[in-house]
């Protein structure tokens, strides 16, 4: 997903659009739409920070900051008491540890194997033909979650297909899938020695089934921001804002790129 947040004192506008093969063009599109929503022209934006897996593919960004820093920044803004952040995205998942002053002190991430990311659920949902925004609710209807024995996304996909043919209820399969992902995520974040408050963010936080599975396996309650998809973008915007403010205070020039949309042909 590509997300844009425009920030003044508060969020002026935010838009979530898909990330397709044509990332750059899409970044343009989502940006344009957000500007429209905010009734702003492109040059009116003082500073642009891009983040995420595709951060280097945003042609008009002034600075690139990693998701770790941006998510942490965004979450601390929303929950000042946050100590552990779990971000489950479609390209990776991470755990971030925050100290009392809101600083990142440690993090772990998985971006090697899709089976440890939100993509795992996406692929299975797709296989089962269930819209992503329904998988969570459906999984909660299960009374007997099945154990998914394969780790690999693709093998698990196949396993789900076979189980389905054997008559295993969809809800039980989905619940199993959620536990399986939650298990891998909890294993990863437990390296940080999880402390309260635990905040779940990223697209995975939109999934009630995953929230349940995670909080059961963590043995703690997990909080979710109202709009978890945009916390990274929000953090990026906050960082941008601070940089501008700092520059203004120190009277140093702010270097920005030209505010134009370049059409990029990829395919």
């Amino acid at each position: 997903m590509t997300k844009v947040v425009i920030l003044k004192e508060e969020i002026i506008a935010s838009v979530v659009g898909p990330t397709g093969p044509e990332q750059r063009r899409l970044a343009n599109k989502v940006m344009e739409e957000t500007l429209r929503k905010a009734s702003l022209s492109f040059p009116q934006i003082t500073y642009i920070v891009s983040t995420g897996y595709g951060r280097i593919n945003v042609p008009f960004s002034d600075r690139q900051v990693t998701e770790v820093t941006c998510h942490a920044r965004g979450i601390v803004h929303l929950f000042s008491g946050a100590r552990t952040i779990i971000d489950i995205g479609g390209q990776d998942s991470k755990g971030i540890k925050i100290d009392a002053s809101g600083k990142v002190v440690d993090f772990v991430m998985n971006d090697k194997c899709a089976a440890g990311s939100g993509r795992f659920i996406e692929v299975i949902a797709d296989t089962l033909g269930i819209p992503l925004d329904q998988v969570g609710a459906l999984s909660l209807q299960s009374s007997h979650p099945v154990k998914i024995s394969n780790i690999c996304t693709i093998w698990a996909q196949q396993e789900v297909v076979s189980s389905l043919a054997e008559g295993v209820p969809v809800a039980d399969l989905l619940a199993g899938i959620h536990y399986s992902l939650a298990d891998r995520i909890v294993r990863m974040v437990s390296r940080l020695r999880v402390e309260d408050l635990v905040i779940l963010t990223g697209g995975g936080a939109k999934n009630k089934g995953l929230i349940k599975a995670l909080s059961e396996q963590l043995n703690r309650s997990v909080l979710v921001p109202p709009n978890p998809l945009i916390t990274g973008a929000l953090g990026a915007a906050l960082i941008g804002k601070e940089m501008v403010e700092k520059a203004r205070k120190n009277k140093t020039p702010i270097e920005t790129r030209e505010r134009v949309f370049k059409e990029v042909e990829i395919l």
């Binding site: 024995s149 394969n150 298990d183 909890v186 294993r187 437990s190 390296r191 396996q217 043995n219």
Partner: protein
């Protein structure tokens, strides 16, 4: 911490011998023994490792060994290692490291954090030791690093690290030239252990008793050799599946009368079975060798699966941690410590001379060749456990070398012109890939698929064998 997750209980493996079936209770007994000893507080307890040739010293000093590898193996066999492995991982330890060690460290950390045994600890759990005897030997790094890592959670428990090197096989070097200083070093290291134990237990070593115990274990060594040799019979009366049980007295009970008696019984049982013509499998079709690798403790029933296909395992290289003493030609000595050191070197260099005589050979390959011949082996099965380099690196190469230097099997194949022609094939082999106790690396379907295909391979070689 993740809610503890237990895998479904494994099915019990069927044993071919009564002796093997009696092992479970024995293991349970010595684990309960450690719990009891801790409660009574009269004896000192020590973490330690197998294959160190130091049990005699322990027993002579009345120190109770806590075999940490054994406990990890039990967790694995009960399919209850995962929660301890996860603990270790959350400390920052990689799954690519020895999972025995990870399981042990995870368990220690948990026990120390709670101040009591972790919930539902297998067989009552592993008690906190008074000290830890690790072993920096050339055999394996984890044996020297494991307790050091555990010490983070119990810094008041001292470690003594005995260094037990042996000369690695080098083609152009006669190991006899260096044995002298290896021996001097090992003797000093073992004496260091004695001194450490004396200090810890505030007792003096009784050397007469030590001498008796060394003599007892020597006799047990010979008895084990004789007993295992009986498995050469056709059909084979006891397989590797059972040997993964009967390894317990070899590795954890050495220098006890009980271990000796166990093999007396086992020997009798095997002799009786042989007299009745009773094999491990009803209709023995293939004789396989477990040619390398520790087993997957959670999947011992795979041996039953092999058996169900008519495959028996008369011999294995794993856990047969004894060798015929009379063939070792050990220097005479009255000093039991010196004898232990010679025996240690004798064991590790056992195949060196033979290997040097066969071009392209190497001790591990030589051992395979000898066993293939002595036990009339049709195929070799190996297990590559990803987390332990010690026993699992070099296997592929050993098979390569075996194929190169060992006499190939003549078979008929269809040639380019469509006619049968005679070619030579190496002994069939199968490499299973999984782990010792990390069940996440295992897939039963996959493994059984491989076994099926391997059995068919054996069958086809048999059918095409040129007389």
């Amino acid at each position: 911490m993740a809610e503890e997750q237990k895998e479904a209980k494994p099915k019990k493996r069927m044993t071919a011998t009564k002796a093997a079936a009696s092992i479970g209770p024995m293991v349970k007994e010595f684990i309960t023994g450690t719990l009891q000893a801790r409660a009574e507080g009269k004896q000192k307890l020590a973490y330690t490792f197998i294959v160190c040739h130091h049990e005699e010293i322990f027993r002579a000093m009345d120190v109770v060994p806590i075999w940490t590898e054994n406990f990890a193996g039990i967790c694995g066999a009960k399919r209850d290692a995962e929660r301890f492995l996860q603990r270790a991982e959350s400390l920052g330890l990689s799954r690519s490291l020895c999972t025995y060690a990870l399981c042990g460290i995870g368990f220690d950390q948990w026990r120390e954090e709670l101040g009591q045994m972790p919930p539902d600890a297998p067989w009552g759990g592993m008690v906190k030791p008074d000290f830890m005897i690790s072993s920096g030997q050339i055999l394996c790094d984890p044996r020297s690093k494991w307790y050091q890592a555990s010490q983070q959670f119990m810094p008041d428990v001292p470690i003594y690290n005995i260094d037990l090197p042996y000369p690695l096989f080098q083609r152009d070097q006669d190991h006899r030239e260096v044995l002298g200083y290896y021996h001097r070093y090992i003797v000093k290291q073992l004496r260091g252990l004695v001194a450490f134990l004396e200090e810890q237990t505030k007792k003096k070593m009784d050397y007469d008793r030590l001498r008796e115990l060394v003599d007892l274990s020597d006799r047990t060594w010979n008895l084990i050799e004789e007993t295992y040799d009986l498995r050469k019979a056709i059909p084979c009366p006891m397989g590797t599946g059972d040997a993964m049980n009967t390894m317990v007295p070899i590795n954890f009970m050495m220098a006890t009368q009980k271990a000796y008696d166990f093999f007396v019984e086992l020997k009798k049982e095997l002799e009786e079975k042989i007299a009745r013509g009773e094999g491990e499998v009803e209709n023995e079709k293939y004789r396989l060798m477990w040619g390398g690798g520790l087993p997957s403790w959670f999947a011992l029933t795979d041996f039953n699966y092999f058996n169900s296909k008519g495959a028996s395992f008369p011999v294995e290289t794993t856990y047969r941690m004894v060798a015929p003493l009379k063939e070792m030609d050990l220097p005479e000595t009255k000093d039991p410590i010196e004898h232990l050191a010679w025996r240690w070197l004798g064991y590790w260099t056992f195949w060196y001379d033979k290997a040097r005589k066969r071009p392209g050979s190497e001790p591990d390959v030589e051992r395979l060749i000898n066993r293939i011949e002595e036990y009339k082996i049709d195929g070799v099965v190996m297990h590559e456990a990803f987390s332990c380099r010690t026993w699992h690196v070099g296997l592929i190469w050993q098979l390569h070398q075996l194929a190169k230097i060992y006499k190939p099997i003549p078979v008929y194949v269809v040639g380019k012109d469509g006619k049968k022609e005679k070619v030579y094939r190496e002994l069939p082999s199968l490499i299973l890939e999984s782990d010792i106790i990390d069940i996440t690396s295992y897939s039963e379907v996959d493994t059984r698929n491989k076994i099926d295909a391997f059995i068919e391979t054996l069958e086809s070689i048999r059918m095409n064998r040129a007389a």
